[in-house]
Amino acid sequence: MARGPSLRAGVGADGDLLSAEGDWTGAHAADLDRLAHAAPAHVRKLTISLEGVGRLDTFGVWALERLRRQVVEAGAEAQLAIPQDARADLFAGVDKALARPSGPSVPRDRWGTFLHQTGRRAEAFAVDFAAFLDLTGRLTFCFAQGLRHPARLRLRSAVHHLDRTGLRAVPIIALMCFLIGCILAQQGFFHFQRFGATDYVVDLVTILVLREIGVLLVTIMVAGRSGSAYTAEIGSMKMREEIDALRTMGLDPVEYLILPRILALIVAAPLLTVIGNAAALYGAGVVAWIYGDMSPAVYIERLHEAASHIDLEVGLIKAPVMAFVIGAVAALEGMKVQGSAESLGLGATASVVRSIFFVIVLDGIFAVLFAAVGM
């Protein structure tokens, strides 16, 4: 019959005596917890006897050891009559754990913590920026060498990635841009109708799509689709020491893994932007015909008047730069991955969030630049 743990006070041959009885096991954890803090007051010399103990496990030993320490801390003498059998080893193990300070207790200072973390973030940002510059330099160097020795450009690999990030992205990007074109045109007709300016809907859609929406949609899609894939690939290669294996063979991971991927992105982004632009304008034309009562012939004529090659160029100039930033951020996040699968997931998320952020920042910088040169 299993009995719960208990303590019986008595007087021994040499001072006070506490007899532990019953099963001192984890199954009675709540009782053990209570007994561990039930040290008798006003004792000078205490012996804790274990003769009446049935089953004993680590939790029981913990409670007994805690009890003894409590008495000792109160300034009295206390000892455990540890049975001279295998159970003595358990006491030694628990004793060792309790003897150490239980965790570092650094005083918490909220303001200090805030400053500390802000500093850490700023430092991390500076380190990341330096890494970005470093990678840009390496890529430029590798590319320049590749121009002299085309075999080192790894074009076969670049074409493979171009297929993955470019060709296979065409359906989703065309569909998405088509829908956004439809929505823009519908909103334009709906609101411009009120002051009879529906003719200008075509101007609105054309300029928005060619200058901003087309390239932004495409690069955000590329960041989400290909940037995260790059981070995951490079990150898992880093995790499984494949990148270290390349290095020990004397090969440069930037040349082998990163440059072909980024080249593929730089080529794919403008091409996808052209496709996206066409799809969006097509969508706008469909809505103009069905919803805005504008015949396709009129729409195309208005399009010719509204669109200039400058608008198209503005969009297409931005695309490769944004693609480069997406690829570089993805590669850097991949290279930062440590041993665990968790850090791989974090890296992929950070890669997408950061590259979309930088795409939008770049878009703003480009808007200022183009305004300055009158484009």
Partner: protein
Amino acid sequence: MEADEVITVSDLRVTLAGHEVVRGLSFNVRRGEIVGLVGASGSGKTVLLRTMLGLLPKTSGTVEIMGVRLEQATPAESRRIGGRCGMMFQQGALFSSLTLRENVEFPMREYLDGSDAMYGDVALAKLAMVGLGVEDADKLPSEISGGMTKRVAIARALALDPDILFLDEPTSGLDPIAAGEIDRLIRTLQRVLNLTVFMVTHDLNSLKSVCTRILALYDGRIIAQGPMQDILAFDHPWLRAYFRGERGRAAQLA
């Protein structure tokens, strides 16, 4: 009083991907035994272990742990069994989002009704038993080496002072000193807690110094069982190669 036989496996068959990996196994493990399961890579050791724990479906046969058939167990029964078995996975299977101490505390929090102080102290004691100090307790599993991962996994398997401990290659990948400490730890715990241990191992030293009985698995069947000397005396080409090879002889001399 509980039955003396804590694990009973009878006529167990397991088929994986159309291939019969475990072909009619029967054995039992009595309380307090330390049973070592040996077999070549791919002979079905890990499959057997995972089937015994209910992680893989079996084709036929029965597995009883502490008198309960896992597939017929009520939720309450399977929870009780779960609290009294500890399993150490080959790769550790530590929860990556918890620190080492929290990993060891986890089963205690789920099964016991003690206090945080108790869990923390006992977790540290378990970590100390497997040779980890308090300075390591707040690290994450991603920050420690493979050998340390093994030890923490054993500490977590021992968290509740279980009745049965399942170990999947507890000493592989450890240096000889650490492996020896694990062996000693298993022996000590077996004596102290009257633990029953079922371990898959390739470590001839472990087999020799820790196991009270050895099961030799070959081609999905048990070809021999008994203490080390019986296994050594048994005449089977694979067993001879396994125990009488260069490494086997070296371990026996040690």
